[in-house]
Amino acid sequence: MKKRMSKVLVFMMLATMVCANAFAAGGAETKARDTKTINLWFWDQNGEEVYKKMIEEFEAENPGIKVSMTVIPWADYWTKLQMALPTGTGPDVFWLNHPNAVSYLPTGLIMDLEPNKDQLKFENFNSIYYEPFVYNGDRYGVPIFFDSVILYYNKALFDKAGVAYPTDSWTWSDFLAAASKLTIKDKDTTIQYGTVVDPDMQSGVSNFILQNGGMLYSPDRMSLQIDTPEGREAAQFQLDLIYKYGYAPKVSEMREITKPTMFQSGMAAMVIHHTGILRQFSEVLGEDLGIAPAPQQKRRASIYHNLAYVASAKTKYPEEVMKFMTYLASSRHAEILSSVWAPCYNGGAEQFYAKYSYLDTKYIVDTVNYGYPLPISGKNAGPVYTLLNNEMDKIFTQPKLGDGFAEVQKIVNAEINK
């Protein structure tokens, strides 16, 4: 009994301390409100250090303004945003990507940046980076960093198999020939695959469809148009890599192990993937990593995607936000950001790639010339994007495409026009 009473007392004391702390934390907040605090939200922890640096600089140049940054887990970023923005408790400045731009821009929750275009100097960016963030002719986003799709290959595995490294004149048949020599079997199991086939609409089959002269969405983006002879040919080529030739693993095995892990572990000799993963690949493979443009067929194609900073239309401090956005649109921002990502700011990417002097990063920079935007629909973009990827996954479980694309088109177009 005594033991329990003393335990209860200890708990009560702790509880009191806890309450005191909880109230104290509330108090500290009121003090901070004398300075104007802007909230910045983003979802990649890798950016914490560079943003800290940027914020320090910005705050030093702008006394009276504080920037508070919050990293939100990627999986829950949109959920939190959806709850916070409409209630006015959201960020003042935050990251937005292409698919979500379609849903967010028409809501009136995002600040129109066109009135401030002289301050922001959009001419410092290639227009392909801010076009997805245009609504009713006005620009709403300041581009941040981009990635495009290229071919990664493992030099050590190429050397072992005696295959020449990929060049920028590679076509699908060169790709196929190399994949065949790089696939190694041990009795019934393949222990090394030439490449990995990915139904993904950013880093996978969409690139091939475009390279073959096919198309993804109609110009008004209101209907999916992959069901063309060129599109079907491209998809069948990918399926053949898996089922006819065995140079690539089945999609379910790929998803179990994940494409990046397959490449990093040496289980796949070359993969087509986006450049966001360059840092990781380079850390693991070091000098064995090589990059080249994705193989061409009837033309070159590489899907690109970029993020933009947008501001909340309901922000309490519009002037301060504009000052911060101006900083985020500056070359100084690009300089600091380039230690982690490839900035959209003109010339910013070169600063990033300078760190990878042993790689032919000019190939990545070149993709701007033949880049196609991430395929997103004109309406319901987020849900449609997920639906499309799911349907593509399903098609790729069969060796023959058959009516696959027609089916997908029907389903996706129904969702777009819901």
Partner: protein, 277 residues
Amino acid sequence: MIKIQKQKRISVGFFVLALVAIITIIPFFWIIVSSFKTYRETVQIPVAFFPGSFRNLDNYKELFERLNFLSYYKNNIINTIGITVPQLFLSSLAAYAFARIDFPGKNIIFMSLLLALMIPIQMILMPRYKLILDMGLFDSYLGIIIPSIPSVTTTFYMRQQIMSLPRSLDESAYLDGAGHFRIFWSILLPLCNSALLATGIMCLVFSWNDFLWPLVVINSTDKYTLSIAVANLQGQHLTKDNLLFAAAVVVSLPMIIVFIISQRYFIEGIALSGIKE
């Protein structure tokens, strides 16, 4: 009364139990050994079971030095104790009333409480969030703590517990002039020690690991809980398993220690004193 001496025996049952225990604990071994690996070691195929060196503490260093896990510990402790202590007390109090006092609407009210368990929590996030905003508890510890204190599970469990205690105890105390609170606090509750401990631990673990509600309420990184910090380790494009599993060890360890310590307090044998058989 014959005292039956039973020495600690190893029987067939023991071996079965041991086998099941080993199978149960294998995933933990995986988590622990992975926490010492470098990222490169986690992307090898086939994945090696053992890390290159058990002395590789880089993952732990990163968690505490770069990623601030120590301050998240503080937040977790505040939230967990702030939730558990009031919850145990208030739930037991309510449980006593449901178990021992006959009042109008008792059963309907109790069933309506169970309703609270029946909807997936994601559906009620928004209205709850608005409530918290209106109460001015947004982005605060109390915003996490207060909605988490009322618990159907704890109340339900304690009600079951109290219902299984003999009413003769209540009656003899009442005859001695005790009111409801005295009966509750001095007579019945002490007899529920095992139950309180069990449900207390469950509440502790649940609030320690709670993820969704804290994520919704908190905007300031410095008030993040450990579960949010772990979720941040899962990137958009890839997750570094070595860091993730080191974080798993760091997050689970306090709860495991609490459980081990609490083992001593599980009362053995007769918990009902003063009962005449």
